[in-house]
Amino acid sequence: MPVNTDAIGKTYPATRYAVGREKIKEYASAVGEHNPIHLDPEVARTAGFADVVAPPMFAVVYSNAAILPGLFDPEVGIDFAHMVHGSQEFRWGPLVVAGDEITTTATLSDVSERGGMGFYVFETDSRNQDGETVCIGTWTNIVRMG
């Protein structure tokens, strides 16, 4: 069955994520970040930030809810049993700190097929409460086709 390209360009409802100090700490611990700028509000303030700083890859946490509806959208038709995460890109703007409110919008930016594989590319655009773009994510999922 060929890939369905009809949904290219489809945008999903924006999600909001309130960045918390303890969540940053929990994430930092899980990925082995020991820099006190992520853990200690005093160190972060001395370094010029309003509160503890999220590691760049914390983008995964605040954009997670935005990406899910597209993955499960029947119009896109991803076959989960045969899906793998093929590649990922993030581009970062200003650092995210505890207390920020991040709004993320996901768009299905491309669907293509080559070599018996379907490529589903989602783009996420995450902005803080001041409207600054803090992260653009490009998520490429590959589905082996039957």
Binding site: K23, E26, Y27, S29, A30, V31, G32, E33, N35, I37, H38, V53, P55, P56, M57, V60, V61, N64, A65, A81, V84, H85, G86, S87, Q88, E89, F90, R91, W92, L95, T138
Partner: protein, 128 residues
């Protein structure tokens, strides 16, 4: 301003413990059972629970921010995931500065486990 030259290299080594994927699932929100349920993972043909690709990418990101001056230096990172990472085996991230051009540097990277690449074609842009 940090100083680096084309050809400079850096390395990060980390061994994910047996329960790492459970902690990472909770921290990230990715509860795909192939990462946390041994029985499910083997039923779908995997050797056992496997690492989250985005955890491994976070190790690549951390290798850059630790070696090159902090989280604000990382402007862009792209990677390709290959194969699968497992727990209780050392992950080795290596990075090489490819080009330094005024206010930016380009760095290539990969992550291996037991000599097999689990992340390849890593490419980062660093703010100097």
């Amino acid at each position: 301003m940090i100083s680096m030259d084309a050809g400079d290299t850096f390395e990060l080594k980390v061994t994910p413990d047996r329960y790492l994927t459970v902690r990472y699932a909770g921290a990230s929100g990715d509860f795909n059972p192939i990462h946390i349920d041994e029985e499910f993972a083997t039923q779908v043909g995997l050797p056992g629970r496997i690492l989250h690709g985005l955890w491994t990418m976070a190790q690549v990101a951390r290798a850059h921010t630790e070696a090159l001056g902090g989280p604000d230096k990382l402007e862009r990172l792209s990677v390709q995931f290959r194969g699968m990472g497992v727990m209780e085996e050392e992950v080795v991230v290596t990075g090489t500065v490819r080009e330094v051009d005024g206010e930016r540097a380009t760095v290539s990277s990969e992550a291996t486990q037991n000599g097999k690449r689990i992340i390849r074609n890593g490419e980062a842009t660093i703010r100097l």
